[in-house]
Symmetry: C2
Subunit: 339 residues, 2 copies
């Protein structure tokens, strides 16, 4: 059998509680003993058994990540995984691991209830897309350490963290205004697409502050597909005067938009500047490469992880945050010759 704390204690000529204290860096142990014990652990190749530690301490050092991991999610939503990686990065530094649990909006609260009851983890990280009202109720009732990745679609007293998409919209419009564009248009997702809604709101704000209010006829909303992007851009190009800039709520719409604009023989950015959000692989591979307001989703995961670590230490902690600093990346779709 594997070597246990008992064997180490015997070999080091101490009690097992001393060894335990060395493992857990308890202040009361003298450096001399600690060093000796560590040496013995090394020699015997001792590693404390994780589940025994969990059991005895009542801490799992695990965080469960709840999300809908259905087919093609990795392609459809790379952001989810980039956040997950950020989460892992932050947690791993403190000896925590992330546990994956696939679910959906209807099943998530039962799953969370079970995970909490079985004490499988010390905290929950929940992707906003699976958040349900029963789950929100459960979390605020139990005050179990948690964070939602993305802004909840409904009002509730739970902790979440999200990119400030309104501010992203402001940045996009400011960039275009600074380039001298005066007739900015917006192509977005539907009403339920909160990300798009927030970005539009930001664009409105940014333009208003430049005294260039966004004209309603320059706003088109639809499904987030390439074809729909092209169709809406087509509508836009039927207007007079033509817009001299188009902000697309996401890369897929932008791809369709670029195609439609080029089909009409208009030059980007000479006749119309185009920009979007997120430095998706599409952005740089598009022709011309797209200027984007980039958002650091990985950093969002990191912040979520840090928040969870503090929430585990001191419960009752609440957070409702928009995370920091979107980042403007200027490419050839708004400035000739760039990127």
């Amino acid at each position: 059998m594997a070597v246990t704390i008992r064997d180490v204690a015997k070999a080091a000529g101490t009690s097992i509680s001393t060894v335990s204290k060395v493992i857990n860096r308890h202040y009361s142990i003298s450096e001399a003993t600690a060093e000796r014990v560590r040496q013995v652990m090394e020699e015997m190749n001792y590693h404390p058994m994780a589940s025994a530690q969990s059991f005895a301490s009542g801490m799992t050092r695990k965080v469960a990540f709840l999300a809908a991991l259905q087919r093609d999610v990795a392609f459809d939503n790379p952001h989810m995984f980039e956040m997950l990686c950020g989460l892992e990065e932050a947690l791993q530094k403190r000896g925590y691991a992330v546990m994956l649990r696939s679910t959906d909006t209807t099943a998530v609260s039962a799953l969370a209830e079970e995970v909490i009851a079985r004490r499988e983890c010390d905290a929950l990280a929940i992707h906003a897309s699976v958040l349900s009202r029963p789950l929100a109720a459960l979390l605020s009732r139990t005050r179990f350490p948690h964070v939602v990745l993305g802004q909840p679609g409904f009002a509730c007293q739970i902790s979440w963290i999200d990119i400030n998409n309104v501010y992203c919209g402001v940045l996009a419009s400011e960039h275009l205004v600074s380039l001298g564009r005066r007739r900015v248009a917006f192509l977005g997702g539907g009403e339920h697409d909160l990300i798009s809604v927030h970005r539009l709101e930001g664009v409105r704000q940014g333009l208003r502050e430049a005294d260039l209010p966004l004209e309603e006829r320059y706003i088109w909303l639809g499904e987030s597909t390439r074809d729909e992007g092209a169709r809406m851009a087509g509508q836009l190009l039927g207007l007079r005067p033509l817009p001299d800039a188009i902000i697309c709520a996401n890369n897929v719409l932008a791809l369709g938009c670029v195609a439609a604009v080029q089909r009409r023989g208009l030059r980007i950015p000479h006749d119309i500047a185009i920009m979007t959000f997120d430095d998706h692989p599409f952005s740089a591979l598009c022709d011309p490469p797209l200027s984007v307001v980039d958002i650091d989703v990985r950093e969002m995961g990191v912040q979520a992880g840090k928040f969870l670590l503090s929430a585990i230490k001191k419960p009752n902690l609440q957070s409702q945050t928009h995370t920091a600093t979107p980042n403007l990346i200027v490419r050839a779709s708004t400035v000739e010759g760039q990127g």
Copy 2:
């Protein structure tokens, strides 16, 4: 405090071992008792504590996933996550969860050693890109249940599972030959890019069997970037006779290739058919949409999960598998008017 097995036993008027046996579906318990106990568990909202179960049974019901989760990995390698999701899907059905652990080739064997020593999981799933010789040695020495996702880049006695990229290459060439193409070219990644190497080998095989051997001057290998794809395609288009079909080892190369071909005023697929591998989002969004030999990476994850479950039950199990059935998706880049 939470309700324990003791409380349930008391309430049900049985011993705790009976309750334990009910939890674990032990055959010796009569249906009557089992039902009664289950009812009590339900009423008391009892859930066994995971870490106590792990501790007592010695089974964690966890699988650790070892991979390099560095910045942008979700964008650069969506396949990794689709596999991960497949893995989760297969494991979750048997009550297993996936635990994420980020690492790299240099650190992976130390990490694995620790994870195994601490008994943090019952099996390891390792992304091929982080596999190292020391890790391979560790795995074959300890015979710890494991599977590598992707074919190891070196010979070793460990279990792995991968897409049959050679066969993918065969399918691609057969498709083009069946369309009457006679001068097939290949754009691939470097020598170290095993996926590209295998696909090229398959293309060679497929063409040879059609008595249309692949001409060496029609083969260009380079970095997998859009620009390099365009550059290599440019070289190809300087040859006479022109190839009438180009197989690109991946979507990024294909994107550059398409751009270069169109820049010369050649029509796709009329003058040159183009195809690639993997039904990446790029494939369908490209103009024209790309024909691809698709590979089901999620299914690969599912198979890995199933293999691990059996390896956990009966150790010493070995596997060296190419997973099944790539799937031809025909679009407009090879057949006019398709997709």
